[in-house]
C-alpha cells in the first residue's frame, strides 16, 4: 500500500478517519468523554462527503439509528464510552441477532458508572464480550497505537459488512487521546472491501446454507427483521431444532473467518521463561520492557500482544503456554482477560496477573520489576 507523508494524529481522529476510509457515511451518537473527538470529526467531515451525522437524544437511540441506516445500505459507526456502551447493549444484541453490520467504538474510561470520565481504564473487556444477553458471537479489537486504531477500524468496518456482524472497537483513554506520528494513505482514498456484489437469484436474508450479503431495504427483496429467532426469511420461529441451528449458524460465521478476525503479534524469545500477554495501551509499557530485556539484555522474555481480544485468541495462548514458564497479564482493571488466559493455559504455565485500577497507566517499571522477580 502506498504510504504518504507522516502526520501527527490523535487516536480518536484515526478511528474517525479510518471509518471514513472504509466507506462509513453514517454516524449517530451522543458525545461522551473520552470519545467525543470521534463525533466532532464525523460531524465536520461527513456532510462534506455526502454522509450523514446525527446527534441523537441518547445512546439507545444512537444505536437504533445506526442499525436503521445499516439496513438502508449505509456503512455506519457510533462512538461512546462505558456509561453509553451500557445503554447500547440491548440494541447491540438486536443487531447481532438480526445480522446487521455496524461498528461500535467504546473509548474506555474508569468505571463503574460515570467513574472518572478522563482517567484511562480497561474495565469494559467483559462488558464488550457479554454486555448484551444471550449466547452471542462478538468481535472486539483493542488497538495499542494510533496507527493500529486506523487500520483496525478499517478492518472492523469491512469484517462487519462481510460477516453481517457488529464489531466493537475497544479503545482506552490513553490511545484515544494521545497523538503520534503515523503514515496513512492520502485522504479520500477508500479501503473498502466489498462483501459481495453477487446476489443469488434465490437470495434469502438468513440462508441456512451460509452467509449471504445484506440486501438493503428498497433494493428488490422483501424480508422481515426481528430480534426473535427466525427462519431463513426472517420470520419468527420457536421450533427447538431450528433455534439451535440458527444460533450455531451465528457462531459458525466467526469460526469460518477466524484467521481474518483473530490478530495477534509476538516479539521476543522463542522459548521465553517469562512471557507477557497484553492488549490496548498496556502493550506500550510491556513492549518497552521486552524490547530492552530481549534485544539489549538477551533475557528469555517475550510479549504476545492481542489486537483482537474477542473471539479470544485461544490457539495463540495455548501455543504460548507450551513454551513459557510464566505468563504475566497486565491489565488496567481488577483482572478480566486473565481469567480467559488461565482457562487456555490450563495449568501448563504459571499465570500472574498485574492489575492497576487507580486511573493511571501500568508503567514499564512495574512490569520489569515483576519480570525480574520471576526470572530470578
Amino acid at each position: 500500500m502506498a504510504e504518504t507523508k507522516p502526520v501527527l494524529m490523535q487516536g480518536n481522529e484515526a478511528c474517525a478517519m479510518g471509518a471514513i476510509s472504509a466507506g462509513v457515511r453514517f454516524y449517530a451518537g451522543y458525545p461522551i468523554t473520552p470519545s467525543t473527538e470521534v463525533a466532532e470529526i464525523m460531524a465536520a467531515k461527513l456532510p462534506e462527503i455526502g454522509g450523514v451525522f446525527i446527534q441523537m437524544e441518547d445512546e439507545i437511540a444512537s444505536m437504533a439509528a445506526v442499525i436503521g441506516a445499516s439496513i438502508g445500505g449505509m456503512r455506519t459507526l457510533t462512538a461512546t464510552s462505558g456509561p453509553g456502551f451500557s445503554l447500547k447493549q440491548e440494541n447491540l444484541g438486536y443487531a447481532i441477532m438480526a445480522e446487521i453490520p455496524c461498528v461500535v467504538v467504546n473509548v474506555q474510561r474508569m468505571g463503574p458508572s460515570t467513574g472518572v470520565p478522563t482517567a484511562p481504564a480497561q474495565g469494559d473487556v467483559m462488558q464488550a464480550r457479554w454486555g448484551t444477553h444471550g449466547d452471542h458471537p462478538i468481535i472486539v479489537f483493542s488497538p495499542s497505537s494510533v496507527y493500529e486504531t486506523y487500520y483496525l477500524t478499517i478492518a472492523a468496518v469491512n469484517l462487519s459488512q462481510k460477516l453481517r456482524q457488529p464489531v466493537i472497537m475497544l479503545l482506552d483513554e490513553v490511545i484515544g487521546h494521545m497523538r503520534e506520528k503515523v503514515f496513512i494513505p492520502e485522504a479520500g482514498k477508500l479501503l473498502v472491501e466489498k462483501s459481495s456484489d453477487q446476489i443469488p437469484s434465490d437470495w434469502k436474508p438468513y440462508d441456512e446454507k451460509g452467509l449471504t450479503p445484506l440486501v438493503p431495504f428498497g433494493f428488490g427483496h422483501y424480508y422481515h427483521v426481528t430480534g426473535l429467532f427466525h427462519d431463513q426469511y426472517g420470520f419468527p420461529t420457536g421450533d427447538p431444532p431450528h433455534v439451535e441451528r440458527a444460533l450455531d449458524r451465528l457462531h459458525a460465521k466467526l469460526e469460518k473467518y477466524r484467521d481474518e478476525i483473530v490478530l495477534t503479534n509476538y516479539i521476543g524469545h522463542k522459548e521465553p521463561r517469562v512471557a507477557i500477554v497484553a492488549y490496548g495501551c498496556t502493550v506500550r509499557s510491556a513492549r518497552s520492557v521486552v524490547k530492552k530485556a530481549y534485544w539489549q539484555d538477551r533475557l528469555p522474555v517475550g510479549l504476545l500482544s492481542l489486537q483482537t481480544i474477542w473471539p479470544f485468541p485461544a490457539r495463540e495462548i495455548e501455543a504460548l503456554a507450551k513454551q513459557a514458564d510464566v505468563i504475566i497479564v497486565p491489565e488496567m482493571n481488577m483482572g478480566q482477560l486473565v481469567g480467559e488466559v488461565e482457562r487456555y493455559v490450563c495449568g501448563q504455565a504459571k499465570v500472574v496477573p498485574l492489575n492497576r485500577y487507580d486511573g493511571e497507566m501500568i508503567t514499564p517499571d512495574q512490569i520489569s520489576e515483576l519480570i525480574g522477580r520471576w526470572l530470578s
Binding site: 472518572v116 478522563t118 482517567a119 490513553v174 497523538r179 506520528k181 518497552s288 508503567t363
Partner: protein, 192 residues
C-alpha cells in the same frame, strides 16, 4: 539533538499549553522525528493545573507518558511548585517570571524569563505567550529545526493569525538570546 527528549509543558488551563504541545509535536513530525503527545485531561484542564507532555525520539516511542523530563516549562507558580521536585539535574527548566517567583535552586539549570509580559508589552497580545514560550524552548534546546518549527507555527495557527504567532515564536528566540531588557529597548526605539 540528543537522543530521547521528554518535554513537559505546565501551567494553568487557558494558557494555551496543550495547543503548544500539539504544535511542538507537529513540528517534530515535520522534522522527521518520532513523536508522542499526551495531555492531562479533566477538571484541571479547565482553569486549574494544565499539563501536557511531548516525547521526541529517533527510535520508536513505546511508553507514551513523560517520566523523566529533559525540558520543563512552568507558566505559573503552582505548576513550578508541583513539577520542580520531579526533575533530575540536567533538565532544562524554563519559567515564566510573570507568574513564577521562585525559589530558584542554584544546582538546577533554571532560566527565568518574562514570557507573558513580553507577549503583552511587545506584541500587545497575551494570548500568544504559548508560541513565545515555544520559541524560548527551541532556542534553549534546538529540539526541532528552527525553520520547520516556524512553518508549523504558521500552519497550525487559527486562520489569519499565522504571522502574529510566528512573530511570537521569533520573539521567544530573541528573548532567550538577547534578554528582556534589550527587547524593551528595541521596542521603545521603534515606537518612537
Amino acid at each position: 539533538m540528543a537522543k530521547r527528549q521528554e518535554i513537559l509543558l505546565t501551567g494553568a488551563g487557558g494558557q494555551g499549553l496543550i495547543l503548544a504541545s500539539i504544535v511542538l509535536a507537529a513540528a517534530a513530525v515535520n522534522d522527521n522525528k518520532n513523536v508522542v503527545q499526551t495531555q492531562s485531561y479533566g477538571p484541571e484542564a479547565r482553569g486549574g493545573a494544565s499539563m501536557s507532555g511531548v516525547i521526541i525520539d529517533v527510535d520508536t516511542i513505546e511508553y507514551p507518558k513523560v517520566t523523566r523530563p529533559t525540558v520543563l516549562l512552568c507558566m505559573n507558580q503552582a505548576s513550578y511548585n508541583k513539577y520542580l521536585p520531579k526533575v533530575e539535574p540536567g533538565c532544562v527548566i524554563i519559567t515564566d517570571s510573570t507568574f513564577v517567583s521562585g525559589p530558584f535552586k542554584e544546582e538546577l539549570q533554571i532560566k527565568s524569563l518574562p514570557i507573558t509580559r513580553m507577549a503583552k508589552e511587545i506584541l500587545k497580545r497575551e494570548v500568544v505567550a504559548n508560541m513565545l514560550a515555544l520559541g524560548v524552548i527551541n532556542a534553549a534546546t534546538g529540539l526541532v529545526d528552527r525553520n520547520i518549527f516556524r512553518e508549523s507555527v504558521y500552519n497550525m495557527a487559527p486562520k489569519g493569525s499565522g504571522e502574529l504567532n510566528q512573530e511570537a515564536f521569533d520573539l521567544g528566540y530573541r528573548l532567550y538570546e538577547e534578554g528582556p531588557e534589550q527587547l524593551c529597548r528595541d521596542a521603545a526605539q521603534t515606537s518612537r
